[in-house]
């Protein structure tokens, strides 16, 4: 693999949907992302694998605009617009979604209320009218059934008292309802047993579409048994150090990250 092709799949000449160019990011003067470049095409599922501390979650947060990260240089372009110029809300309304590694609890706000607020915010941004309550309820019920989410859970306050698995399934439920164009999944597999893993993977697979893209961040190959990636990127020390097909994930499973960690140093 040549240096040029690292971070970029063989896109056959099409322009990338999401393109990150030479991104450097620090937190309190510590460089976390180091001149990182990555391109994701429409219709593509890109896996990002890497050891702990390689900057994977930082990448997810910087793409979606979480405060507290200092972007030193570079750009993140979605549909020709530099996301770094946009507020987190504006990015979300452009169809960017993050399935959080640790979803936040918001006491007192019922899950359904939150879902409806989010869904209607997205619809308004697209010039669509708000959903009627019955229509909203029907959509949630269908998505919840597919993901084997108990209706009772949706009546609880947002993420409060959810088990780890429930939280992750709820992230995927939101993704299914909001139907984002680019979804970033940050270790959605962590904390899931094998059955839950399959349910979550099915949820993602159902959404796969030539117009949508997924960035799946994970430590382990096992999620990729269920969500077949088109491309696998290896991340180490704040940059993409290798790019390949699904076989790259298998190789990592066998040999670990040691080789790449050294290569990036």
């Amino acid at each position: 693999m040549t240096a040029n092709s690292i971070g970029r799949a063989q896109a056959g000449g099409r322009g990338a949907m999401l393109e990150i160019r030479n991104l450097s990011v620090s937190i309190q003067d510590k460089l976390i992302l180091d001149n990182l470049s990555l391109a994701v095409d429409a219709g593509e599922v890109a896996a990002i694998m890497g050891p702990n501390g390689s900057g994977k979650s930082t990448l997810a947060y910087v793409i979606t605009g979480k405060p507290g990260y200092e972007v030193q240089s570079g750009e993140i372009v979605l549909d020709g617009v530099n996301l770094l110029d946009l507020e987190p809300t504006e990015r979300a309304l452009k169809g960017l979604f993050l399935a959080f590694q640790y979803p936040t609890e918001i006491p007192g706000v019922t899950t359904m209320t939150f879902l409806k607020a989010a869904l209607n915010a997205q619809r308004r941004a697209r010039g669509e009218s708000d959903l009627t309550t019955p229509d909203f309820m029907r959509r949630v019920r269908e998505a919840a059934n597919t993901l084997k989410i108990d209706q009772e859970m949706l009546r609880r306050p947002l993420n409060v008292g959810f088990s780890g698995g429930e939280k992750k399934r709820f992230e995927v439920l939101q993704m299914a309802l909001l139907a984002p164009r680019v979804s970033v999944l940050d270790e959605t597999d962590s904390g899931l047993d094998i059955d839950a893993l399959r349910v979550v993977a099915d949820g993602v697979n159902d959404l796969r579409d030539p117009k949508r893209a997924f960035v799946v961040i994970t430590h382990y190959q096992r999620l990729l048994d269920h969500i077949k990636p088109d491309v696998v990127h290896v991340m180490a020390r704040g940059r993409i150090v290798a790019t390949g097909g699904p076989e790259l994930a298998l190789e990592l499973e066998r040999n670990g990250y040691r080789d790449y960690a050294e290569e990036a140093a």
Binding site: T64, G65, K66, P67, G68, E87, P88, T89, A92, L93, F97, L98, F100, P103, T104, I106, P107, G108, V109, T110, M112, T113, F114, K116, A117, A118, N120, A121, Q122, A125, D130, T133, R155, P157, L158, Q174, L178
Partner: protein, 489 residues
């Protein structure tokens, strides 16, 4: 659940840049000369055609008041109030004491329509799905209209302006007036006793469940005018009544004084539920103007197994000094206090409750949610006391404060005193901030910063909102969103 969503929906539809109720109604008014003297009091009493005993009661309060000083213990500050620079009585100039809605100045009816208060009974009746609410409207110093009187009378319920009660039910007024908040109680209550102009009166006879919500809307319109209304509610044995009070005022550069007194009396097995949505003008972004809301509200659970429940949503006023309290005298009586106090800009809130356990097996519950934003200061001040004979008294208190931004403050000042060893008093308190994580989670789903704040705050106050009658819960949520406008940088 659906109600929470309403907030977010309504935030969009409302012009949040302005205090929505800040308009002034141009209406001629009849005012007492500025300043306070025995003459002013005689003027008010004469205007209202009061009996001699009531004039005496007022004058006695006035003499007492002249020896008293403003309380200084609250965590609020304001320039000294010149009590001689206030008009103590202002009434819309029209035929006094209108007997039906037809006689009310149409300009007044338009004002109340702007405030969203359905004064015209036909309109309410036309809205089939709408829950019926009987409304008494107090404009500056006098009550201008009370609706649904006839229907209430059928159930034996008396609901009218205070002045009318003095005329038509003098025995009831005389028996109960000042028995919960004595005319000597405190500086502001004593002032009110001297100069109160009108207010609402409700009486529910034994065993009657009041067939509809009773509601009073208070509106201060005139410049330099104080509003001193007095409310008296009596629930006879086994009676039940739910009462709601709403308040608004125009935008004025100067501060206006509102010193009301509310007295509730619940006899054996009676229950009174008193809800307030207080939205007096809070002042502008520099802290100019706004209402000084110095109010004494107290309920007396006089009978065994009686119950009084206060629910308040406080979003307005420049300064709030208010402690709706319960005297738990009757055996196994119960007091409840549910409060949401939201402060933004330069508002100062010092509010809370007192639960005075006198009887055996009395219980009380206090749930207070304070939300401070902008440069505001928000204090919960509460007293729970179990007296010597209050064997088996129980109290549970929960005070939560939420801070938005870095320049505001939240304070909790509980006073707890138990003179009976069997009393159980629990106090929980938390202070938290709207976390960056919570905000980001909402923003990432496409909510604006303001929608996110409204959602998180509504979640925070949810337990208390649920205590409000449904219609008013929606109103309250709308207010919460509006009052937090500009709180997110």
């Amino acid at each position: 659940m659906a109600a929470d969503q309403e907030t977010v929906d309504r935030v969009r539809s409302i012009d949040v840049d302005a205090y929505k109720y800040g308009f002034v109604t141009l209406i001629e008014s009849d005012r007492a000369p500025k300043g306070l003297s025995e003459d002013t009091i005689r003027f008010i009493s004469r205007k209202k055609d009061e009996p001699e005993w009531l004039l005496e009661w007022r004058l006695e309060a006035f003499r007492r008041w002249q020896t008293m000083e403003e309380p200084k213990w609250a965590r609020v500050s304001h320039p000294p109030i010149d009590y001689q620079d206030i008009y103590y009585f202002a009434a819309p100039k029209s035929a006094p004491a209108p007997r039906s809605l037809d006689e009310v100045d149409p300009e007044l009816l338009r004002t109340y329509a702007k405030l969203g208060i359905p004064l015209v009974e036909q309109e309410v009746l036309a809205g089939v799905e709408k829950q019926k609410v009987a409304v008494d409207a107090v404009f500056d110093s006098v009550s201008v209209a009370t609706t649904f009187k006839a229907e209430l009378a059928k159930a034996g319920v008396i609901f009218c302006s205070f002045s009318e009660a003095v005329r038509n039910h003098p025995d009831l007024v005389r028996r109960y007036l000042g028995t919960v908040v004595p005319s000597t109680d405190n500086f502001f209550a004593t002032l009110n006793s001297a100069v109160f102009s009108d207010g609402s009166f409700a009486y529910v006879p034994p065993g009657v469940r009041c067939p509809m919500e009773l509601s009073t809307y208070f509106r201060i319109n005139e410049r330099n005018t104080g509003q001193f209304e007095r409310t008296l509610i009596i629930a006879d044995p086994g009676a039940y009544v739910s009462y709601l009070e709403g308040c608004t005022a125009p935008k004025r550069d100067e501060n206006q004084l509102h010193a009301a007194v509310v007295e509730l009396i619940a006899l054996d097995d009676a229950e009174i539920k008193y809800s307030t949505v207080q939205n007096w003008y809070p002042g502008d972004s520099e802290g100019r103007g706004g209402i000084y809301n110095f109010v004494t509200k107290r309920g007396d659970c006089r009978g065994a197994r009686s119950k009084i429940s206060w629910t308040q949503v406080e979003t307005g006023s420049a300064i709030t000094w208010k402690y709706p309290s319960c005297i738990l005298r009757g055996e196994a009586s119960r007091g409840e206090f549910y409060s949401i106090a939201i402060s933004n800009g330069h508002q100062q809130v010092d509010s809370g409750t007192k639960m005075i356990h006198l009887g055996r097996n009395t219980t009380s519950r206090i749930i207070s949610k304070g939300v401070a934003a902008g440069k505001s200061q928000n204090t919960y001040r509460g007293q729970v006391s179990a007296h010597r004979l209050a064997t088996g008294a129980r109290n549970f208190t929960n005070c939560d404060s939420l801070l938005i931004g870095r320049e505001c403050g939240a304070h909790t000042v509980p006073y707890i005193e138990a003179k009976n060893a069997s009393a159980v008093i629990e106090h929980e308190a938390t202070t938290s901030k709207v976390s960056e994580e919570q905000m980001f989670y909402c923003l990432q789903r496409g909510l604006s910063a303001e929608e996110a704040t409204a959602l998180i705050v509504n979640g925070f106050v949810r337990d208390v909102l649920q205590q409000l009658p449904m219609e008013f819960a929606v109103e309250a949520q709308k207010l919460i969103s509006i009052s937090l406008e500009g709180s997110v940088g």
